[in-house]
Amino acid sequence: MIRGLWTRETVALMLLAAYLPLAVFWLGHGGGAAALRLALAVLVIAGWNLVFMLARAQPPSAAALVTALAVAMLAPEGLSVVQMVLGISFGTVMGELVFGGWGRNVVNPATVTLSFLGFGFPGAPWPDFVDPVAWAAIPAALIGLASGTLPGALLVSAALAGGGLAWAGLLDPDVLPAAGIVLVLLVADPVTSAATTLGRWLNGALYAGLMALFATGWAGAAPVQMAVAAALLAALAAPLLDETALTIWFARRRRRHGRL
């Protein structure tokens, strides 16, 4: 009869709060151009949310702002407005809204948008981040961890695996800032990352492993491009990782209790 507060919209607002440090530093260093990109992304995503609310009675979510921030920060530079609108529309509609809105999607709409833009317009240069913006990913992750909205196991395992690989010389330190920002913004999305504890550990490690693979084997790719590709593959593998984690959990229970 008494009610707690972790509804879908609370989680969305807490995520927004977690990403504030990133947004502030990025806007501070990017200036008017960055603000314009963000405004464009917000406008297009809000438009599609409105369409789906009118057509399919799907209530919009504040998480749309998170998607807009991720797209504005990570999308290739030098694209025309039409190209951006095309990419964002594809990502938002096919990545999230057709599944029933935020919370029912299987891949992060921002990841879909960025992959679409990357595949569709391969000539456009990917953004580069100044160090303060990359460092701002750490307070973002900490706020997400403290409020419980970002999966802790995933962040910790990605950080450990990434640190280990970098220490062993398998992960180029130059890609770490972009990898960190993408980890916080896209990979650690609570909806589309793995949802079991073991699955989250595997998910984080898989992301770090893919980053190492791309950093050594993908010549000529920008760090953000590699990170987005790794995020897409890690998100697609998340259900498989969850399934693996559950199979192991079932097997352990069966061994312990003789039945499920």
Binding site: M1, I2, R3, G4, L5, W6, T7, R8, T10, V11, M53, L54, R56, A57, Q58, P59, G100, G101, W102, G103, R104, G148, T149, P151, G152, P190, V191, A195, T196, T197, D242, A245, L246, W249, F250, R253, H257, R259, L260
Partner: protein, 422 residues
């Protein structure tokens, strides 16, 4: 790792709650009512007429399908009203307190054998205090449990401490535990607060203590069962409150079933929370009306997370939660309603709060998804058969009541029961 598991869970804010050292009042309310628990149908045969005087512990009705199982008067009383629906489904039996009624004595001579003990528990009115899993409700007459869970800990917000409830009755508790051992071939698991091992008598290998952490839902029977001894379709598990075990011990000792239980009366609608010893079926108004703040309120039988609005204290409940009745919000504008109706129930976002709401024992997101998709098979593999509504009440609370996990779990359990009965 062990200490992490013990510390898992949440402490939902709920106040005021009775202080640990508050004085315990003995209260017998002037009215009491017997009513089946929410969502349960009981078909009964009344054994007394309206206006008859009955002693405490005397049967007033028995189940139509199992005449051995009796519902008994929780106090010496005059029967005020017996209301049945068509098909002899019990609505309620209302009793007025009447000092002259006396106490019913039961013959305990056959109770050394399991069959005799069972018959005594059914005749004396202790059977409805038992609950079986899977599916909930009282056990069938001849059911043999694979294990029995005794809850000597309660982590629900504002719940009275069972160890306080049985303080001074340790001998009866031990006698009750010994009797429970006769009812099952399996273990008797006694859940107790971590660090209070001293309160649980050492009684050999079949009585196993299970230490439990301080936060809810660590002390929820379903979560403990899921961890220690999962219930299955052919392995039913019973659970029983420690105070009721002490009552069973007392019944075997004296032939009379004690009917007073420790109940906490708490909640924001009260001026002062308190602990009372009162009878099952007590009138909630009778327990709380002196202390209520003026204004609209709602009285729940049970804890504030999973309790039900009621008039009488339900047979197994030990809490009365008095909440202020929220003012009815204006209905949303028809256009807003039309534009947002498709997403009900709202999707559940996996967060740390959700994991903790299942005590970090069950893969929460997978379980919630199986529940909302109606995937019975997956939910059973994840342990749905050990759980009842009250075990997921905390998750419902955490999710702001948007997900209705309790309702979905009940529907799923009913569906599984129908499928496997066929």
């Amino acid at each position: 790792m062990i200490s992490l598991a013990v510390r898992a869970g949440l402490s939902p804010g709920f106040s005021p709650t009775p202080p640990d050292d508050s004085a315990i009042e003995e209260v017998v309310t002037a009215e009491a009512g017997l009513r089946p628990p929410a969502h349960v149908t009981l078909r009964v045969t009344p054994l007394v007429e309206e206006d008859a005087c009955v002693p405490r512990g005397a049967p007033v009705a028995c189940l139509r399908d199992a005449p051995d199982i009796c519902l008994v008067a929780p106090m010496p009383a005059r029967v005020a009203r017996i209301t049945l629906q068509p098909g002899r489904k019990l609505t309620e039996i209302v009793l007025f307190h009447d000092e002259g009624g006396g106490v019913q004595r039961h013959d305990v001579s056959g109770s050394s054998r399991p069959a005799g003990l069972r018959a005594l528990m059914q005749r004396a009115g202790l059977w409805p205090w038992l609950r079986r899993r899977p599916f909930g409700g009282m056990p069938a007459v001849d059911e043999v449990p694979a294990a029995i869970l005794v809850m000597a800990v309660d982590t629900r917000p504002a719940a009275p401490d069972p160890l306080v409830a049985i303080a001074g009755r340790e001998e009866s508790f031990e006698r009750g535990l010994r009797a429970l051992k006769r009812l099952t071939e399996g273990p008797v698991l006694v859940c107790h607060a971590a660090g209070r091992e001293d309160a649980i008598p050492a009684m050999g290998v079949r009585v196993q203590p299970v230490p439990v952490g301080p936060r809810h839902p660590q002390g929820a029977a379903g979560i403990r069962l899921h961890e220690a001894w999962p219930a299955g379709l052919d392995a039913p598990v019973w659970d029983l409150h420690a105070e009721d075990v002490a009552a069973l011990g007392r019944l075997l000792e004296t032939g009379t079933l004690p009917m007073n239980r420790l109940v906490s009366v708490a909640g924001p609608a009260l001026r002062a929370p308190r602990l009372v010893r009162t009878q099952p079926g007590a009138s909630l108004r009778g327990l709380s009306f002196h202390d209520l703040h003026p204004g609209a309120h709602v009285l729940l039988s049970g804890d504030p997370l999973g309790g039900h609005p009621a008039e009488w204290l339900a047979p197994r409940d030990r809490q009365v939660s008095a909440l202020s009745r929220p003012e009815a919000a204006a209905p949303p504008h028809w256009l807003i309603r039309a534009l947002t109706r498709s997403a009900r129930p709202r999707p559940v976002i996996p967060t740390a709060a959700l994991d903790q709401a299942f005590g970090a024992q069950i893969p929460a997101a997978a379980f919630v998804r199986a529940l909302s998709a109606g995937d019975d098979e997956m939910a059973m593999k994840l342990g749905a058969l050990s759980l009842l509504e009250e075990d997921v009440a905390l998750a419902d609370y955490v999710l702001g009541g948007e997900a209705d996990l309790q309702g979905m779990l009940r529907v799923m359990l009913d569906r599984i029961r129908t499928e496997f009965a066929a």
